[in-house]
Symmetry: C2
Subunit: 497 residues, 2 copies
C-alpha cells in the first residue's frame, strides 16, 4: 500500500512587509503615545478609535499621496456586497465619522487617534505595510486659531515625550500664500483653477524636496526638468526664469521674525486676494503663537514648508528635529521631520456636500521613537524578572511561595518553568531574560532555612559557562535567611549593594 | 448640452458588524487593559504585538471554534502570491511567532498580547466582526505550575481592575480527567483515539452548556438528543444511561475542598491512565494555588468546566463573575464568564513537527468592561475641558492666553473654536462637552480687568435656553479678577465652592 502523502508543514513567517514587536518595542511606543495622549487630552481633544475596516466607497479610490503610484489598500469583496478595505490613514476614517455622526458630535470636534494603518505597497527596506499613526485634528473650526492650537500642542507633545526645547522646531506656512505666488507668477488663474494644475503639482513637489535636492535641483524642476544621478529624468513645471524667480523668492522669504517674514511674503503676493488672505492668516497664527509663549525657539513662519499632499487648503506645518544623527552612510545629518499636518477643508464634503473646515497634525510614530532612542531617552535595557530557580522538582510549592512573596511586594518575579534538570539552562534563561537576581535553594539550604541570592547584573559575564559550584563561589552571590528574601532582593534592585 | 452626470456621494457608514469607539469608551478600555498589563508584567510576562495580517497558511484553514460553522476570516490574495488574512485570535499568531523565533526567544516564553481580532461572521445583535482580545500564555512549560500561575495571575488581574474578591471565582478542571471518564465509559479507546470522536465532541459541547440547558438538557444531549423551544432538534451523543450517568457524575464531582473533589474524581477514572494523570495534575494545581494563598474564595477545582474549544489537551480554566445583573429580559442572572483558557500542547507542532507545551488565558475585554460598568467601577461621567468662550472676535489672543494659563497649570481647557457669533451655541457646546466651567469676558469686563466664571455642573439644567443676561444672573456665575483665573477655576474643579 502506498504511504499516504504528507501535508507539508505551514511556514512560520511574518508576511512580507509586516513586523512583530517584542517586549520593549511595545512598551516604549506605548509610553511615548501615552505621553502624547496626556497632552492632547489637556488641550481638550477626545480619543476616537474607528474600526480598522472601512468600505472602499467611504475611503475613496485614491491614497492622498500622489507621489507614490504603487500605493494602494488591502481590499476584499463581501459576499454579494460591498468592497471593504483596511484603512490607509486616520484622516479618511475621521472624515467618515465627522459626516456620519455630525448630529451627535460636538462642533467643533477635537479628536485624537492612535493606531495601525495599512498600505498595500511593495515591501522594501524600511518600508512597511502596517505602521502606527498618531493624529490630532479639529473638525468644524474655520478660525486659524485652530491651526495655531495644534502647532502649540505639537510642540508641547514633543517636549512631553523627551525632545528638549532647542532640539526641535515647528515650521508653519500657508498654501494660500503659495497659491498667491502662483497667481502672481501666472500659473494659477483664479477664474479657472483647473488650468496649470499639473504644473502647480510639479512646483509643490519640487519645493517639498528642497531639503534633498537643494536650490539648484528645485530650480531645475521648476524649469525644464532634472536628471538625477542614476540618469532618470524628471519632467519640470516649465516655468520661465522670471516665474521660477518668484517661487524661489517665496521659499527664501523666511526672516528673523514672523512679522518680518509676513512682510516679505506680502510683497510677493501683492495683488492676489488669496495670497493676501494667506499672509493675514499667517500673521494671526504668528500673533497667537507669540501670545501663548511659543517664540522662535519653538515655532517659526517658514515659507519653504509646503507638505507634499494635495489636499491641504490653508496653513501647513511640520515639526523638525534639529539635532545631528549619523545616517546610513555614516554622514552627520539633521534628524529631520517627525510630524506634519495642515488645514484641509474638503474631506468631509465628499460625504455631505457641505464644506467642513478641518485642520490637524500627524506624528510619525516610528520616526519619533527612533529619535528618542537616538537621544538616549528610550531604549535603556529594561530589567527582566527575578528568577526563582528550581533545584528540587518536588519542592515547586516552596519556590512558588517565594515568587508569590516577591510579586505581592510589587517585585517582578517568576519561577523557572522549563525542565529543571539542567541547572545551567536555568541560569542561561535568567541571563536571556536580563534578570537582575536569581534565587537558589537546594535541599541543604532548605534544611538550614536559608537561600542563595545572586546579583546577576554583576555576574552576567560568567553566567554563560558557570557550573553551580563556580556560581556559588562568586562574590555577587550571598546566603541569606529565608525570611529576608523580599528585603534582600529589594536591596539589590535599589542598587543598595 | 446634457448636464454631466453627478457622481453619487459616498455613504458615511461604519461597515456592517464594525464599531467606532468614542471618548470614554476608548479611555476606559485602556485604563482596564493597562491595569491588567501591570499585573502580567509583575508575573514576568513580556508584551508581544504581532502584525494584524498573517498568511492564511500560517493561520490554518479553520477557526478553533467548531461550534460556529459560519465563522471565517477576512482574506485576500496577494498579486500572484500568498493569500493573506486578518488574524482571528491572538493564539494562532503566538504559535507562529513561537515557531518562527524559537531560537531567539527565552524558553519558557511568557507573553501577553492585547489587540483587535477580526471574524468574518454574519453581523448580528451584539455580534461584532472586530473586537479586542487580551491574552497571556506561557509557551514551553510542561509543568502544571504554569497552569496554576496563569490562574493566580487571572485572579490578581481581575482584582487589579476592580472586581472584588467574592465577586468572582476561577474554576479549574482538566481535560485529561474528562478523557479518563470517557475511557471508563467506553467512548474513548486509547489504542484508537479517532473512534467515537464525534460522540466525544457532542459530550464536550453538552457539558459546556450546563449553565444554559441545566442537567436535564445536558442528559438529553448525552443520550438520544434534544428538542429546543423553537422545535429545533440537536442530535445527541447516543450514550447509554450507564455511560451518561458517569458523565453526569463527573460534572457533579465538585466537593467542598480541592482535595475532596480530586478524591471523587479519582474514584470515577480508576483504571484510566490518562484520567489518573489528570487527577494528579489537578492535585498539584490545587496545592500550588493553596501555597500562593489562593483559597476557595478565589479558585476552585470544578469538574463542570470543560471549555468548548477542541484544542485543549490538559487543564482548562474559566473565570466567572458571581454577582447578579439584569439580563436583556429583565431577569436577575449571574454575570457569568469573563475569561477562560487552558493547556494546548499541539499548536506550535503544526509548524515545527515538535510538540511544544503551552498554556494560557484570554480575558473577554468587552464583557469585563461591561462588568466593571455594571459594578460602577467605570463609566462615571468624565468631565470635559474648561471652555473659554469668545465674546469679541478680535480678542482671540486674549482668550487663547487664558487657555494657555489653564493648560500650563495642568487644567484641561480650550477656547471655543466654532463661529462665535451666536453665544448660545457656545454654551450649548460647553454643555455637550460636559465642561465643568465656562470662562466669559466681554469688552466691558476686559476694560475692568475681570472675567466671569460659571460653574456649569450647577448650571447645566438651564444652559439649554439661557440668554447671556439670564446666564449672568445665575448664582453659579461669579466675577473674578483676571489674575485669579487659574486659582478660581481650580477651586471649582476641586469642589471647594
Amino acid at each position: 500500500m502506498a504511504k499516504p502523502k504528507k501535508t507539508p508543514r505551514p511556514k512560520a513567517v511574518t508576511p512580507k512587509g509586516f513586523r512583530d514587536y517584542f517586549g520593549a518595542d511595545v512598551t516604549e511606543r506605548k509610553t511615548m503615545l501615552d505621553g502624547i495622549a496626556a497632552v492632547y487630552h489637556r488641550y481638550g481633544f477626545d480619543p476616537l478609535e474607528t474600526s480598522a475596516v472601512e468600505t472602499v466607497e467611504a475611503l475613496g479610490k485614491f491614497l492622498p499621496d500622489v507621489d507614490r503610484p504603487n500605493a494602494g489598500v488591502f481590499a476584499w469583496q463581501e459576499e454579494d456586497s460591498d468592497w471593504l478595505a483596511l484603512r490607509y490613514d486616520l484622516t479618511a476614517p475621521l472624515a467618515r465619522v465627522a459626516a456620519q455622526f455630525r448630529n451627535d458630535l460636538p462642533s467643533p470636534y477635537r479628536r485624537y487617534a492612535m493606531g495601525p494603518v495599512w498600505r498595500n505597497e511593495k515591501p522594501g527596506p524600511g518600508r512597511f505595510r502596517q505602521f502606527y499613526q498618531c493624529d490630532a485634528d479639529t473638525v468644524g473650526a474655520p478660525s486659524v486659531a485652530a491651526d495655531a492650537e495644534v502647532c502649540a500642542m505639537l510642540s508641547d507633545a514633543l517636549e512631553a515625550v523627551g525632545i528638549e526645547r532647542g532640539d526641535y522646531i515647528v515650521r508653519i506656512n500657508n498654501r494660500k500664500v503659495l497659491n498667491g505666488v502662483m497667481e502672481v507668477a501666472g500659473v494659477l488663474d483664479p477664474s479657472d483653477p483647473s488650468k496649470f494644475e499639473a504644473e502647480r503639482g510639479i512646483v509643490l513637489r519640487a519645493i517639498d524636496k528642497l531639503d534633498r535636492l537643494g536650490e539648484d535641483g528645485v530650480r531645475a524642476l521648476l524649469g525644464a526638468g532634472r536628471e538625477d544621478e542614476s540618469g532618470d529624468y524628471t519632467k519640470g513645471a516649465g516655468l520661465s526664469d522670471a516665474q521660477a524667480d518668484l517661487v524661489m523668492a517665496f521659499m527664501a522669504a523666511r526672516r528673523d521674525s514672523g512679522a518680518d517674514t509676513c512682510a516679505a511674503l506680502a510683497d510677493l503676493v501683492r495683488g492676489s486676494k488669496t495670497g493676501e488672505t494667506g499672509v493675514a492668516e499667517l500673521e494671526t497664527i504668528a500673533a497667537l503663537m507669540e501670545t501663548q509663549g511659543y517664540g522662535a525657539d519653538r515655532a517659526v513662519i517658514d515659507p519653504s514648508v509646503v507638505r507634499g499632499l494635495g489636499y491641504y487648503t490653508g496653513p501647513v506645518f511640520e515639526a523638525e528635529l534639529t539635532f545631528d544623527v549619523q545616517n546610513d552612510k555614516g554622514q552627520t545629518v539633521q534628524f529631520g521631520s517627525v510630524a506634519g499636518g495642515g488645514r484641509y477643508d474638503d474631506l468631509v464634503k465628499r460625504f455631505t456636500g457641505q464644506a467642513v473646515p478641518a485642520t490637524g497634525i500627524s506624528i510619525g510614530v516610528d520616526r519619533l521613537l527612533a529619535a528618542l532612542r537616538a537621544k538616549g531617552r528610550m531604549g535603556g535595557a529594561e530589567l527582566g524578572p527575578v528568577v526563582v530557580t528550581v533545584m528540587d522538582r518536588d519542592r515547586l510549592a516552596d519556590y512558588q511561595a517565594m515568587v508569590s512573596e516577591l510579586r505581592n511586594a510589587g517585585i517582578r518575579a517568576e519561577m523557572y518553568l522549563g525542565n529543571p534538570k539542567n541547572f545551567g539552562n536555568q541560569l542561561k534563561y535568567a541571563d536571556k531574560r536580563q534578570s537582575p537576581v536569581a534565587v537558589i535553594q537546594g535541599s541543604d539550604e532548605a534544611d538550614r532555612g536559608v537561600i542563595q541570592i545572586k546579583d546577576l547584573i554583576l555576574g552576567a559575564k560568567i553566567a554563560e559557562s558557570a557550573s553551580l559550584d563556580e556560581w556559588k563561589s562568586q562574590p555577587a552571590q550571598r546566603e541569606i535567611a529565608r525570611g529576608e528574601l523580599v528585603a534582600e532582593v529589594r536591596k539589590i534592585l535599589d542598587g543598595d549593594i
